[in-house]
Amino acid sequence: MGLVLTDGAVVAVVVLGVVAVIAGIAVFVVDSMARATFALLASFLAVAGVFLVLDLTYLAVVTALMMTIEMAIMVVFMIMFMMNPAGLMPMTMVHNARGSAAVGAAVFAVITVAVWTVDWPPRAGTPPEDSTRQLGEAIMGSDMLVMIVIGVGLFATMVAGTVLATHRGRYDRFGADLDASRPDDPVRGGMPR
């Protein structure tokens, strides 16, 4: 099998891949929740760069934009929930680190051995001129069921996430028909809790 990528492109994907892994390791090494979030963002951006080299322009842009926004939201949650957001002191919040490292290394080893021992088939066909068109035609045609399931799944996620995250509302306090004369609160006093 010949080489479909140029030498420069091969170097680019390898360097970006190494950057993605180093940034991924940094997530669990740095002393600040905010820095960990931005290390994860760096890992995602490196993967978006790999997508760009592999002619997946649309997915690269989607990944970069989506992950930038997601990490911006995540950093807010970090500061809300976590101690030490600024990394002013050493931060170690782990349990069974040695066992976890062993499991992680074992997973890496098993997949890597499989990757380097499998007899990979030759490339079937060539990439389309416009990979975005190929994806668009797939999700609006042959793979439309996937998009339908994704749509229903995202809608269910929005509803379930909102229900989980909101305070007790008037239906919790006054019943499904809102006809209770007194609110059913765990603590009396009239505040909506």
Partner: protein, 105 residues
């Protein structure tokens, strides 16, 4: 260097991301950091799916569709993770996995 070797290098990168993610998801005490570990695992799936599409079957869109599905899984995971974190914090003031022991047998 052949295409197969480049594919194997990229899949090794994916394996490393998945391994680091597994370590993070298992070792971290903070719920938010556990979610970051899971995101790294899905990040590895993204790399593997994209490289499989490019080096094995670029004429078929399935690899790209798998990338889209993985991105959606990532978004769903984050939404439900944060919603559950807010719910459990509101109910029990718990933000570490070691403190969430209600279901322990």
């Amino acid at each position: 260097m052949t295409d197969t070797v480049v594919l194997q290098l990229l899949l090794t990168v994916a394996a490393a991301l998945i391994g680091v993610g597994v370590f993070g998801a298992l070792s971290q005490q903070s719920i938010v950091m556990v979610m970051m570990g899971i995101e790294l695992i899905v990040n590895g799936v993204l790399v593997a799916a994209a490289s499989a599409w490019f080096f094995l079957a670029p004429e078929r869109p399935d690899g790209q569709v798998l990338v889209v599905v993985a991105l959606v899984v990532m978004a769903v995971e984050m939404v439900m993770g944060f919603a559950a974190t807010i719910a459990i914090y509101r109910a029990r003031k718990v933000d570490m996995v070691d403190m969430a022991t209600e279901l322990r047998g």
